[in-house]
């Protein structure tokens, strides 16, 4: 079933469809939130709050954008809401974004991870959304609520930094 059909069923309180939507998006939301927040506990909260928001608001998905664009937009809002709350409270701990590789650490992989972690968050999320989620610059602009030109230039600068760090 396509994600938009699943969402249709969710709007009619279909728990099974909600479960399938969760399976399809939970890890992706979690990884996006980790990319933004670098904290596993907060990223889990983002998954929870995003899924609850989807359950409550599924009928308001207009079909004007892709389901993933809509969902990542919600996740991003949740992430920044949590971040504001955390910043107002105690300092959150920043974790390594990646689990240690159980196999032998390959030096190049380690460099790639380090280069990614060193990017400013605004560039890191564009790289995530373009290279992992395969989204267009228009979709990313909608998720970030910034002009398309901003997305293009963030990616351009990210690429310059990454190439510089990795050669």
């Amino acid at each position: 079933m396509e994600s938009c059909d699943l969402l249709d069923h969710v709007a009619r309180n279909d728990e099974r469809a909600f479960g399938r939507l969760y399976e399809r998006f939970a890890d992706r939301i979690f990884r996006y939130a980790l990319t933004l927040l670098r904290n596993r506990h907060l990223a889990e909260e983002v998954v929870q709050e995003t899924m609850i928001a989807i359950w409550k608001n599924a009928e308001s998905f207009g079909g004007r954008s892709q389901v993933s664009t809509w969902i990542f937009g919600i996740a991003r809002n949740q992430a920044y809401t949590l971040l504001r709350r955390e910043v107002a409270g105690e300092r959150r701990s920043v974790e390594k974004l990646f689990l240690p590789d159980p196999a032998e650490e390959v030096e190049r992989e380690e460099q790639v991870r380090a280069a990614m972690s060193a990017l400013p968050v605004g560039q890191r999320e564009v790289v995530f959304l373009a290279f992992y989620e395969g989204l267009s610059y228009g979709e990313i602009a909608r998720i970030l609520a910034v002009p398309e030109g901003t997305v293009k230039s963030r990616m351009y600068h990210a690429k310059q930094k990454l190439a510089g760090a990795l050669t």
């Binding site: 099974r16 889990e44 609850i52 290279f131 989204l135 293009k152």
Partner: protein
């Protein structure tokens, strides 16, 4: 902005195949006659593969997250009695859904696997 600069802003999306047909054609046309931008594209494609693999190694959402989601979408969990040890336990849960009868279920956890003992409501996602 020069031609090359304009094209380079699009190359990442040429690489992930999300440009409009018109933009993709313009990029392809430029690439045919510009080796510097071809080199740039090759670099981007390599970065894209490497980062895709790297993001795919990030941890997954914890397994318990779904339970938390479903508990709060079904209603407020009134009691959650968890008896048991690390390996074996029985948990009783009662939650009030938005509509209909309260849901009562009991699960037996055995070596991390959940075995349903009883559930007064059929269906739903477990």
């Amino acid at each position: 902005m020069t031609d090359c600069a304009k094209i380079r802003e699009l190359l990442s999306w040429y690489a992930n195949k999300t440009l409009s047909r018109g933009e993709a054609q313009a990029v392809a046309q430029h690439l045919a006659s510009c080796s510097a931008c071809r080199d740039e594209l090759a670099q981007i494609v390599q970065l894209m593969w490497e980062f895709n693999a790297t993001f795919a190694q990030m941890p997954s959402a914890p397994k318990k997250t779904w339970d938390k989601v479903i508990a709060s979408t079904r209603g407020i969990a009134i009691t959650q009695l968890d008896v048991g040890s690390f390996l074996l336990g029985i948990s009783l849960g009662l939650s009030v859904p938005r509509t209909g009868l309260p849901r009562v279920r009991s699960d037996l956890r055995f070596f991390g696997q959940k075995i349903k003992l009883f559930d007064n409501q059929k269906g739903g996602t477990q």
